[in-house]
Symmetry: C2
Subunit: 247 residues, 2 copies
DNA sequence: TGTACATCAGTGAACGCGCGTTCACTGATGTAC
DNA sequence: TGTACATCAGTGAACGCGCGTTCACTGATGTAC
């Protein structure tokens, strides 16, 4: 709006990247979507080689055989590309988990939890750099914008749904330390879940990420010899904690 | 040894950084140790601002008011400095934990575990970048050398000692999935600990790091409203798991 | 205690590199009449 | 169906930056006799 209009035609050039084309079905729009995907794919490949923080727009352009400046037709900046990758990672992980849980008998909640846990670890092992991108140390100088939050929430949401299945309540939320520390979560679930069960859920959630992070980031080397096997056994114990709790 | 000796005097220049001075008590050696510490301190300050992966020798030199090449009298490369920082972080954390545990009655193992857990989280909260450096996603392009392993081991060692106190055994190790997955750890403890207890120990260990990582890396925002309070409650439950198990 | 020599810390210039981002441009594709 | 114009994708040069590392050097500090 308040942009300077010194030059005649091309003054709107700068903010071009973010806006999609008008007609969703148009040829141009389709080609644009394809190239956007290709850029993200190349970025993913690069991340797999040297990690998220050394992701370089120039290297991506090189790989795709285009001028480095051309990337700016698709992403306004390196940060915007990073954001897109983060969202994609969350969405991909959430899709994997949802699909795995959906394949299991809805009544067998132990099995559902096991499916969830396995899907989480499998995705992490197969996409270690994407995992590090979203659950490892934050990329320096990058601040995740609001856009990522909705996608990020989809992942724990899957466990929350599981909890809801067995620990619904209409009782008033007790006023204690647990309800204080989990205030945000309690609001998020619209006060429909037993607080003790919610607490166990968060603990198990943490253990899942702890197990996966310790494994992926190399802290199980020479001690936990077979992390997959250990994970499998931990699943059983975690399932008990998260399913069998009584509020 | 096989280095080219084109020039007369200074040919041994290159490998100067790693070798300490001869006399430990000499003035030069003391000054050298001080400056080494100052470099590491500056590096720490820089890390606190922008993370470990953007650590720059030039920036450190600038902060200390010296030529960037002078750093090479103290550290042979950026990687060597990183290694030193990693070792320092492990050592500092292990010292904190050991000190905290030592302050508690040796017979009260619940209290000992609580002290350990609290010391771990407190250190992490106070040194978030050091924590990320050692327990977050690995710094791209950096491979931790053997030197770090001994220091790294000191941290879980503290929990192991706690476990040994209550779950010593001379029974033969059973041949099952658990003993297979934990083979490395079992060897490390010289087969003197109950395997079930060891498994619980690893799980609790993972939960501790999961809780801290999720908190520090921003995944508790808006859900776990008071992470410290929640951690405190989780400690009690984790202590039961790790102390009260019977093999 | 004094002198000759070796060692060491620190300098400043330079090499070679890669990066994000901007800019004015050319040509192709779409749109309105 | 054809023409005029606006939009868009992509180019290539350039700006300005910071980085790790090497090198030949100067001067100060330590060591051996």
């Amino acid at each position: 709006m308040a942009t300077s209009k010194k030059k005649t035609k091309q003054s709107a050039d700068t903010t071009q990247a973010s806006g999609a084309s008008k007609k969703a079905g148009g040829v141009r729009a389709r080609v644009r979507a394809e190239l956007t995907a290709e850029i993200k794919a190349a970025a993913g490949r690069q991340m797999a080689e040297s990690g998220a923080s050394s992701l370089s727009l120039r290297a991506i352009a090189r790989e795709l055989g285009m001028a480095s400046s051309a990337i700016y037709r698709y992403f306004a900046s390196r940060d915007e590309l990073l954001t897109a990758l983060i969202i994609d990672a969350y969405e991909d992980l959430a899709d994997s988990i949802d699909a795995a849980v959906a394949e299991v008998d809805a009544d067998d909640r132990h099995a559902q939890f096991a499916a969830l846990a396995r899907a989480l670890r499998t995705w992490a092992v197969n996409n270690p750099h994407e995992y590090a991108l979203i659950y490892g140390s934050p990329v320096p100088g990058y601040a995740a914008p609001q856009d990522t939050i909705a996608s990020a929430a989809r992942v724990p949401q899957a466990l929350l749904v599981l909890l809801m299945g067995g620990h619904e309540t209409t009782k008033p939320i007790p006023k204690n330390d647990l309800s204080t520390s989990l205030a945000g979560l309690i609001d998020y679930t619209e006060r429909s879940i037993d607080v003790e069960a919610l607490g166990q859920g968060v603990e198990v959630w943490a253990e899942l990420f702890g197990l996966i992070s310790l494994e992926l980031f190399g802290h199980f080397t020479n001690t936990v010899t077979d992390p997959e096997l250990f994970f499998e056994q931990a699943i059983t114990r975690m399932a008990s904690r998260v399913i069998d709790t009584t509020g």
